[in-house]
Symmetry: C2
DNA sequence: CACTTTACTACACGCCTGTGTAGTTCGGGA
DNA sequence: TCCCGAACTACACAGGCGTGTAGTAAAGTG
């Protein structure tokens, strides 16, 4: 549970307001005056604490990166008490920042945040590789990066997924449907080994030219 | 190959410039004057043809939706000549608009575009369901929506994936690495049936409360 | 106490923006 | 030829923006 907004320092309230308005309206559309109003301070104080609008955004990015690192370390510490679902915690903690993070990710920002997730994914994949029958011919790092992007897809494209499912995927009922869907997708390969081999055979051997499976 | 920009009508040149600048800089940061300059016309002509900045963006959205529908129908027409790789064509056609589309998708716009892709994905999934051992307990539409989001992930998070892979994933060599990575991920389930069953057992039966796997 | 620093406000400046308006060029029918 | 509408330009306007500056209140600190 968050502390009472009245208890937070003005600086923190400004940062939270910025995270919210940057997320809701985007960086350019959100105004310093609007952020100040939400935070209950004067617009001058925003400048006093953060210097400029861009610096304020940088601080928002850094804050989220710190928050994820902190959560990560914390979970890694009491790994023994692993009854708590790390993913569920992370989702609920970062839910208020979903919109901000999505915008930032698409613009190529918050790289440390993505990197932390990708490193985490790499760890998880490395464990699984030990029990894997065929040796992966693709670097672990590549699979982790692409896998992380895919894991973020539902958050980033939240509005479209919710619309197509007919329910807010982050609401109580939506989360259950999303979880079932993810479990189904994650536990069934999209391509059979034969299909994969056939497609792989059509790829150039070393560094090639034109044929590929893309994401769009 | 695109026709010579000089041959395009001014209206088309304005739209192309808008697609480019909205993609590169975002809707708010891009200016009508900047778009006019790139298109080689006066800023007034932009207004003459499109009425307002928002209407110009709407036209960009609609143009891309039409382009995808056109490509889709075309491919469906000469299905017999299926030696051409639909995905590869789609990727190369929409590559110049990747940035624009990503921004639009995150903001919840271009819904028809996402819907077209999701419908396509549903068709493809329906075929696969016929050869599937266990009956899926999740609606086809849900799997198609989430699967589509995942397929778009690499495009939307292009910069992060490229950075982590150390190579532009849409360059010649990057595409090959990306293709290999996708083939590996698509042909290996992320969860074993037992793990999936265990996680599914922890979900509430009907409409539930708090535990779920989210996208972070 | 005096003094400095920090937190905070009020206010004005200048720029850039989207938009409105008046006017010009030009091609194609009657 | 005349004319009319579409394509297109030049220019001015008002508003909102980020930012700069001056000043006040409060909180340490010797």
């Amino acid at each position: 549970m968050q502390p009472d907004p009245e208890d937070l320092t003005a600086r923190a309230r400004i940062r939270d307001a910025a995270l919210r308005l940057f997320g809701e309206q985007g960086f350019d559309r959100a105004t310093i005056r609007g952020i100040a109003e939400v935070a209950g301070v004067s617009s001058g104080l925003v400048r006093h604490h953060f210097g400029s609008k861009e610096a304020l955004r940088d601080e928002c990015d850094a804050y989220l990166a710190r928050a994820l690192t902190r959560l990560n370390d914390q979970v890694r510490a009491d790994m023994a008490t692993s009854e708590t679902n790390y993913l569920a915690v992370a989702v609920s903690v970062f839910a208020p920042y979903r919109s901000y993070i999505s915008r930032a990710l698409v613009e190529g920002r918050v790289a440390p945040l993505f990197d932390t997730l990708a490193d985490l994914s790499a760890e998880w994949l490395a464990e699984r590789d030990e029990n894997r029958a065929d040796p992966p011919e693709v670097p672990l790092k590549a699979r982790a990066a692409v896998g992380t992007a895919m894991s973020l897809a539902v958050s980033v494209l939240y509005e479209h997924v919710s619309r197509r499912l007919g329910v807010d995927v982050f609401s109580a009922e939506g989360q259950v449907l999303l979880a079932r869907t993810l479990l189904d997708l994650y536990s069934h390969p999209w391509l059979s080994p034969e299909e994969a081999a056939a497609l792989r055979a059509r790829l150039p051997e070393d560094s090639g030219s034109d044929t590929a499976e893309g994401g769009a």
